[in-house]
Amino acid sequence: MGATSSAKRPEGYLYYPGCALKGTGIAYEESLLALFRLLGVRLEELRDWNCCGATSYMSMDEQSSSLLAARNLGLARQMGGRDVVAPCSACYLALRKCNDYAARYPAFRDRVNGFLDSDMLPHQPAVRVRHPLELLYTEVRPERLRERAVRPWPGGPVACYYGCQAVRPYAEVDRAHNPTRMDELLQAAGVPTVDYPLKTKCCGATHAGTLHDVGLRLVTILLKEAARRGAQAMVVICPLCQLNLDAYQGEVRREEPSVPELPILYLPQALGWTLGASARSLGLQRGIAGGALLRRWFNARTEAEVHG
């Protein structure tokens, strides 16, 4: 990596998986770790991390929710206060918001600090919360992916779907209204992308489980539009987006037979593939929708295809 490694911090980052990346979103963890290993960026899992206190909890009990986020940041301080990488958009936002509120509301900060004292965790230093998309774009850079890509993309064009909480409300991961970083990274790595105007429209979050018809409708709209734009797969950066678009596709097709099978990939799965990682190390066998396409695109034969 020599000359291009100046942006890389030698000590690497702390990795906050959150609950989904150990379960339904396991392929996100697998591919993220595989990609960062290939890029030589160290990720160390946060020891004894707890639930981030995300969205549904905020509705119930703001106080407990913020304390959950605060404990994770306290654990990160205990491990040296390196930047925390939170790949799940809901986790990212919960942790990011905790930092923001602690800075803006003294009463909030006092409560959090009191809690940290009881749990014997430090208040300082400030810990920066990062999302892998922002990290890949600002520190790894698209140029480096272009240099390092060794494999042609075996599939069709993809629609980049950014979802909501990674880009809103903080707009630090990418622009809130028209994010493009995922497209830029993928194009640099040789993955064709299509224009996808619904890139930041809500996937329905937990509605697919709670208000099923409403959630399903939102998922249908996203899938239909991706197909209409010529995408043969979608690329996402959040385990809940992935689950909604992937696991309910069969049901969507029963009502809208025109929606084709669209594999729903995580950004590091697509990038990791172009950089030479094996299909299995990227968890590419774990997709529910478009299983036949996944097997056709990512197999032993296409794994052996490497740029001359």
């Binding site: 379960g23 509705s59 119930m60 407990s64 409560r111 937990t206 208000l211 099923h212 696991a247």
Partner: protein
Amino acid sequence: MLQRQIKYQRDADPEWGRRVASLPGCERLLACTQCGSCSGACPLSIYMDITPRRILALAREGFRDDVLRSQTIWLCSCCYACATDCPQGIHITDVMFALKREAIENGYHPRRFAIPALAEEFDRSVRSSGRTPEFWLATRMAVRSGPAALLGTLRLAWKLRRRGRLVLRPRGIQRLARFQDAMRRAKGGP
């Protein structure tokens, strides 16, 4: 029986409206110009009985019952589209969070919606293990929502299980007792 279609000031509880506007994240509520950008940006407003713009107007005037009984606050998926588009910088999503909490605390549980159930189950799981066991959370919630939901959840679980995406017994946190104790103390308990 005739019912008037407009609201009178005397139906409102302005004190409650002021209190909502003083909650963290709700400070800019009074700055709302009723432009309607929020309702336009909201991907769920088409399902709402009261659109986000009207919720803001009703909330700050103190029409507590109308706001807390509305479907709107439960339909909000917290996507922050409204907050991003608000020309007055109102953190509308945070207002919705505050209103959901007000509704739960004051016993306005809409029976038709599983969303408060999700929040409660979430709370219980986190208190007992420090993490969220996705499968059990979904299952317990589905049980509360009815047999059709349960069947759907189990079908989904089977698909996930076959691809190694379903963890039946996730690991909880190690320093659980200290965590629970700190949570209790932070909430003013013994």
